[in-house]
Every structure is written in structure tokens, then in C-alpha cells.
């Protein structure tokens, strides 16, 4: 039972590049980045596991969560390889930093599917939403809401970005700026360590005090957790009711806020198809088939990575039912707690 899998493996089935067969089953490693956001353990993991099981009943999905720590994720890649994993479905904490681990994995004969975030290094396939696009959609939604109320520059907006130590936060921020710069007046802008809702609350309070609560015309919050902190600050410091507020992740709490009118929008990423793609790609790679992609992307290391990019969806009061409810992301029963019941009725959710 010794190690250099790369040299010794790879001849298990008829196909020259196959490293496993559906008949015998093989191990697929699933590496997710964190658990502070609800989606990973509630949706991604079960969806992927289920999809793999239906494609390859004997396959086993080994799961690790890196808790937002790139070094830990690298160790988890090592452990996966030790564990005899043939294909990695990898949602990188730090897409750039993971490149070395990806290289090591492929060097040892494993295949890598970049999931949700385009990891660096020689990845074999990619399926995701576009983070830059997410930021742009948030920005656009905010801009639209501002324009609906008049001149978008009639007052300052407040931007509450994600963690400065999270590379993905930089992408959202970039996307949002691409849309908003020049179109609106950014009164105050914050990066929020650890995406902390409490911190966001303090920041929002500070901004409202500095700018004058009644002057603020919109708030950009990079995700729903921080939007929660900001929403409470808006209520407390007397920001005009109905002032636009963005979010991301389609958390249950955010959907409820949207229905209640204290948040304008959130970004819903339909995880089901993404998970389905990932499972398909992983099984295909292991059995020596070429993964199917609708397009190709370039991550700097590999030029033509087959990719399936899914467009995220902006959720507002009007399309809650057609998006998260329809997809079974949240059930009406979950959303319409007694407090939200009236708003649910008004929005036609029943």
C-alpha cells in the first residue's frame, strides 16, 4: 500500500485514460470551502452526492470542508490523494493559491473538476457561476432600484463588501464597481472582516451617522448575512423605508426580508444544475471520457478548460415563487413563518 499513485495507477479499465469504472466504483473527493454560508452543506453536498450515486452507484463521495482556510484545503487535497480518491470536485477557498495542490493532484493521476470557483492549475473541467457577473448583477439591481426612485446620484450610497482576506470578495467588489462607478455617488465603502454581520451593522451605523441617515439612497451589501446587519441598522437609524439594499446567496432570512420589503434583492445561484454538472464531469473524467462543456475557459495555466457556466438569477419580491420556491431551494412553509405570512400572501406565495 504505497504511494506513488500517479505512476502505478491509470490502467484499471479498457479506456487508456480511465482511472476507474462505473462497475467497480471509485472514490470522488468533494472539497468545499466553508460552512458559514448555508448553501454548502445544505445543497451542494447532498446534491452532488445524490447525482454521483445515480450516475455511479458504487462510487463513494468523500467530503471535506476547509473552513475558509487555504492551507487546510491543501492538506485536505493531500489527504484525499492518500485516501485513494480518483477525482476531485474542488471548490477552492483561494482559487489562485490552490494551483500547487491541483498540480500535485493531477501529477498523481487524479482528475480535478473546478467547482463554483475557477481554481488555478491544470484543472480538467469547470462548472460555476461567474463571480464577477454576480457582482455586476448586484450592482445593476441596485442601480435599477435607484433609478426607479429618481436620479441615482441624488444622494450617497454605502458599500459593504466582503472579507478583505477572501479573494472571492474582491471579485464581487470588482463586478459591482464596474457597474456602479460613475453612475452613483459612493459615500462610504467598507471591507468587512470575516463577512461579519455584526461588523456590517457597525459599519452601516457609522456610515449613516457620517452621511446623515436620511440622505442615504442605497446600500450595497455583498451577501445576505451582512445585508441582515445593514437592514437592522437602516431601520434603527432612520434610513428611509424602502431604500434599496442588495444581497447574495438567497438565504432564507434574506428571502423573508425581501418579502417584507427590507431588502431589495439577492442573488440566487441554482445549485442543482451546477451540482449535476459537477457529478457528470467527475464521472466522465474518471471513466476516461471527455467532459462536456458548453464553453471553454482559461485560468492562466490551462487554456481550454471545458466549462459549463450557469447564470445566477436576481431574486426580487416579484420572482421569489418562480426561482427559489420552484426549484425547491426553499419551501413556502419554510419561508412563510407567522411573521412573514402577511407579506407572503401579498406576494402570492401560499
Amino acid at each position: 500500500a504505497c504511494g506513488t499513485a500517479g505512476q502505478s495507477g491509470g490502467t484499471a479499465s479498457g479506456s487508456p485514460s480511465a482511472i476507474g469504472t462505473v462497475e467497480q466504483g471509485f472514490k470522488i473527493g468533494l472539497l468545499l470551502p466553508e460552512s458559514k454560508t448555508a448553501r454548502y452543506e445544505k445543497f451542494d453536498r447532498p446534491y452532488i452526492t445524490a447525482n454521483v450515486k445515480s450516475l455511479c452507484p458504487k462510487c463513494e463521495v468523500v467530503y471535506n470542508n476547509a473552513n475558509q482556510d487555504p492551507n487546510l484545503q491543501q492538506q485536505q487535497v493531500d489527504t484525499m490523494l492518500t485516501n485513494g480518491v480518483k477525482v476531485l470536485i474542488l471548490d477552492a477557498v483561494d482559487a489562485k493559491a490552490i494551483a500547487a495542490a491541483v498540480k500535485k493532484a493531477t501529477g498523481q493521476g487524479a482528475k480535478v473538476v473546478a467547482y463554483d470557483r475557477l481554481a488555478g492549475g491544470p484543472v480538467d473541467a469547470y462548472t460555476s457561476f461567474d463571480n464577477l457577473q454576480v457582482g455586476k448583477m448586484q450592482g445593476q439591481a441596485l442601480l435599477d432600484a435607484l433609478k426607479a426612485g429618481g436620479d441615482p446620484k441624488r444622494g450617497p450610497i454605502v458599500m459593504i463588501n466582503g472579507s478583505p482576506t477572501d479573494p472571492n470578495a474582491t471579485e464581487y467588489k470588482k463586478g459591482a464597481h464596474a457597474v456602479l462607478d460613475g453612475q452613483v455617488t459612493i459615500g462610504k465603502e467598507y471591507d468587512t472582516p470575516d463577512w461579519s454581520p455584526d461588523q456590517a451593522n457597525t459599519e452601516a451605523n457609522g456610515a449613516f451617522t457620517a452621511l446623515g441617515a436620511q440622505n442615504v439612497v442605497g446600500v450595497y451589501a455583498a451577501n445576505d448575512g451582512m445585508a441582515g446587519g445593514a437592514a437592522k441598522a437602516m431601520q434603527n437609524s432612520g434610513v428611509k423605508a424602502g431604500t434599496p439594499l442588495t444581497g447574495q446567496d438567497a438565504e432564507l432570512a434574506a428571502i423573508q426580508r425581501i418579502l417584507l420589503g427590507t431588502q431589495t434583492m439577492t442573488i440566487y445561484k441554482p445549485i442543482k444544475p451546477e451540482a449535476e454538472n459537477a457529478a457528470k464531469m467527475a464521472v466522465a473524467l474518471a471513466t476516461g471520457q471527455a467532459p462536456q462543456g458548453t464553453t471553454t475557459v482559461d485560468n492562466g495555466t490551462s487554456a481550454a478548460i471545458p466549462a459549463q457556466i450557469i447564470t445566477p438569477i436576481v431574486v426580487t419580491k416579484d420572482n421569489v415563487e418562480d426561482t427559489v420556491v420552484k426549484d425547491g431551494f426553499w419551501s413556502v412553509a419554510e419561508i412563510c413563518t407567522p411573521q412573514v405570512l402577511a407579506a407572503c400572501k401579498a406576494a402570492g406565495l401560499e
Binding site: 460552512s35 458559514k36 454560508t37 448555508a38 452543506e41 445544505k42 445543497f43 478583505p164 459615500g187 462610504k188 465603502e189 467598507y190 471591507d191 472582516p193 470575516d194 463577512w195 461579519s196 454581520p197 455584526d198 461588523q199 451593522n201 457597525t202 459599519e203 451605523n205 457609522g206 456610515a207 451617522t209 457620517a210 441617515a213 445576505d224 448575512g225 441582515g228 446587519g229 437592514a231 437592522k232 434603527n236 437609524s237 438565504e251 432564507l252 432570512a253 434574506a254 423573508q256 426580508r257 419554510e334 413563518t337 407567522p338 411573521q339
Partner: protein
């Protein structure tokens, strides 16, 4: 010591002059000796306020001060519990995680299980106390160092928090008792002033009554001038705060609760047998044991108290943003709670401190945070400035203590 009626006075003891001159002399001696108590930190706080105000004139606006006074509450309550543990010379690394876990318990019980708010709050606080008791058990009875126990607790309760919240993550708290903890302001102008008046009156009455008892027993008592001076200082602070708060939305309930907690816990620490035992264990555990104090009991209950206050802090944190999530109590909540206690003057080595330090330290920390938020500088600069200001605030204190050490008291 200035009671001339007492015979057994050491002739070397420097007797203070009567009246104002005496005050001044005493004060000068203390400045030289570094026995200024919290004064240096208060000066540091005032400097911070002046600097931020000069950078942004909204800093000292009633609105900002009012927000600040509510923002200190959640972490401040955790810090109160930490003070208890620090007095023992121990540390509680689990406080943040416990606060998050208990906030999650509260949210699940009240939203998902439909408990009514008071019951859910009680259950959450009880859960926190129980978690603390468990730490205390492993520490006091098994002998695992508190650092390791509470580190293990930090991990385990974080896991528990994730598990309780389940895959749904954030849970919004409905408007109601929990939200109103940080949402309620006594806007009625008389409320704040009335409380300030009450506090001043009670303080004066207690001081005078105590003095009378002391004089009757023939032990040294304060001069009337001294009592009047102290009462006056309290009155200025209380009425000043009331005035400012009334300019915005009135007296915040959360602040009232926090201050009440600080006053009561300080009283418990200083004026009850239980509190005295905590100081004794923190000062010299062997002496405490030999004096017949049940050291294990003190240790276990102190960790339970810390857990309970952590839970309470978590509830206020959840109340502040009307939701409990996986992020509640995470990040640097723990560090800030410990830092507040230490900045406020509680020793990490046990036996010295007071829960007032939680209040004072949180004011320093939150003033910096609020000032930075008002400025809206980039994160890297913000981190650096926060570090520097934190250091500067404590340097004043340390320099004065240094002269204390030089004069042989340390």
C-alpha cells in the same frame, strides 16, 4: 486614615491635609505614585474621542454616541463574564463560541420550536451556564488547564452552533422581546434624567449611611467633602449621559441593562463572600484552600457565570441584527471581550480587576471601531490604525503604572 480620633495611627503615615488643598496634595502624590486606577484609560478614551471628533464632527453627535452605547452591550456582557474568569487567573476561550451557540439555541427555540421569548431566553442563558459548568468541571475536577478546556469548548460549541442552526443557516428573529432588547429606547425625557437622579441619590445615601456606621464603629471614615466630590462626579457623568441620549432617541434599554449588570456584578465581587472567595482564589490559591474555601466550587461556578454571560451577550448580538447565524460570536468577538477587560484594567494573572473594566474597555474598543467606521478608510489602514490606537490607549496607563512600579508598589 484621616480620622484624628483614632489612637493607633502609624506615625510614618502621611496624613492628608483637610479640604481642597488636601485633595490636590493627595492627587499629586497619586499621579507620582501611579495609583490612578482607571484614570489613565479614561484619559486615553477622551483623547480618542477628541481625535476622532476632529476628524469627523459627527463622531460626538448624539446619534453616534447613542449607537455606540448600544454597540458595546453584546461584547461587553461577554466581557463581564470574562472578568470573572480573569480574576481567577484563568482564561475562557470559549466565550465567543458559547455566545454564538446560545444565540442559535435561542433562535431555534423561539422561531422553529415556537417557544415564547422569555422561556427561550432563559433556556439559552441556562444552556450557556451549563456549557460553562462543563468547562469548569474539566478544569476544576479533572485538572485540565483552562486554556485547553475552553479551546476544546470553542471548537465543540462552534460545531454545536452549526449543528443547531442546521443547514438553513441564518434564522431571522421576529419582532418581539428579543429584538426589543436592543431596539427599545426610553424616549420620555424624564426617564433618563430620573434614572440619573436616582443613581446619584442612592449613591449619596449609601455613602452617607456607610460613613455614619463607620464613625459609630470608630473606624476611619471619609470626609464629607470627599463624599460630596464623588457624588458630584457621578452626577456629572450620569446627567451628561442622560442629556446626550435624550438628544437622540432616549435612554437605550440595552445600555441600561448593561450598566445594571456591571454595577450588580461589581457589587457581588466586592461585597459578597462569593466575590471575596474569587479574589482569594485568584490571588493565592493555596491560601484560599487553606482558608477552607471550596476552590473547586468557586472555579466551576465562575466558569458557569462566564458561560451565562457569554450566552447573554450572544442574545444581545442576535437582537442587534435581529438574527442568529453561524457568524454570531465568531470572528474576533472573543478577542475583543478579553481585550476590553484587560484594557479596562483587569489583570490576566488573577486577583485584580472589576467588571467596570468591561464597560470602560468596551468604550475604548468600540469608540475606535465607530471612529474608523465613520472615516470609512480602507481595511488595511483600518487594521493598522486600530492596532496603533489600541496600543496608544493603553500606553498612557502603562506609563503611569511604571512610575508606580518605580515607587515600589508593583
Amino acid at each position: 486614615m484621616s480620622d484624628p480620633g483614632n489612637a493607633q495611627v502609624d506615625p510614618r503615615l502621611l496624613v492628608r491635609e483637610q479640604g481642597f488643598a488636601g485633595y490636590l496634595g493627595e492627587f499629586r502624590r497619586r499621579v507620582r505614585g501611579g495609583e490612578l486606577g482607571p484614570l489613565p484609560v479614561i484619559i486615553g478614551l477622551i483623547v480618542i474621542w477628541i481625535v476622532f471628533q476632529s476628524l469627523n464632527d459627527r463622531f460626538l453627535s448624539p446619534q453616534n454616541l447613542s449607537n455606540l452605547s448600544v454597540d458595546i452591550v453584546a461584547t461587553g456582557l461577554i466581557s463581564v463574564g470574562i472578568v470573572f474568569v480573569l480574576l481567577l487567573g484563568e482564561i475562557d476561550l470559549s466565550a465567543g463560541a458559547v455566545s454564538g451557540a446560545c444565540a442559535a439555541v435561542l433562535a431555534v427555540l423561539s422561531v422553529n420550536q415556537g417557544w415564547n421569548a422569555p422561556a427561550a431566553i432563559a433556556a439559552a442563558v441556562a444552556a450557556g451556564a451549563l456549557m460553562g459548568l462543563l468547562h469548569g468541571f474539566f478544569f476544576a475536577e479533572i485538572g485540565v488547564p483552562s486554556f485547553v478546556v475552553t479551546l476544546a469548548g470553542m471548537l465543540a460549541w462552534t460545531g454545536f452552533q452549526l449543528w443547531v442552526l442546521g443547514p438553513n443557516g441564518t434564522i431571522n428573529l421576529p419582532d418581539g422581546l428579543v429584538s426589543s432588547l436592543t431596539d427599545t429606547y426610553f424616549a420620555y425625557v424624564a426617564a433618563a434624567y430620573g434614572l440619573a437622579a436616582l443613581a446619584t441619590a442612592v449613591f449619596l445615601a449609601v455613602s452617607l449611611a456607610g460613613n455614619a456606621r463607620r464613625r459609630a464603629a470608630g473606624v476611619p471614615s471619609r470626609t464629607v467633602g470627599d463624599i460630596v466630590f464623588r457624588t458630584a462626579v457621578l452626577a456629572v457623568v450620569a446627567f451628561g449621559a442622560a442629556y446626550v441620549l435624550n438628544l437622540y432617541r432616549g435612554l437605550p434599554l440595552a445600555l441600561l441593562i448593561f450598566v445594571a449588570v456591571v454595577v450588580v456584578t461589581d457589587f457581588v465581587q466586592r461585597r459578597t463572600k462569593y466575590g471575596r472567595s474569587i479574589f482569594a482564589v485568584g490571588g493565592n490559591i493555596e491560601a484560599a484552600r487553606r482558608a477552607g474555601i471550596n476552590v473547586a466550587f468557586i472555579r466551576m461556578t465562575v466558569f458557569a457565570v462566564s458561560g451565562g454571560f457569554a450566552a447573554l451577550g450572544g442574545i444581545f448580538a442576535a437582537s442587534r441584527i435581529s438574527s442568529a447565524s453561524q457568524a454570531t460570536g465568531q470572528s474576533n468577538v472573543l478577542m475583543m471581550a478579553i481585550a476590553a477587560a484587560v484594557i479596562g484594567g483587569t489583570s490576566l494573572f488573577g486577583g485584580r480587576g472589576s467588571t467596570y473594566s468591561a464597560l470602560l474597555g468596551m468604550l475604548v474598543i468600540q469608540s475606535i471601531a465607530s471612529g474608523m467606521a465613520l472615516q470609512g478608510v480602507s481595511n488595511s489602514v483600518q487594521f493598522m490604525v486600530t492596532g496603533a490606537v489600541l496600543l496608544a490607549a493603553v500606553v498612557i496607563d502603562s506609563v503611569s503604572r511604571r512610575s508606580q512600579k518605580a515607587s515600589g508598589r508593583a
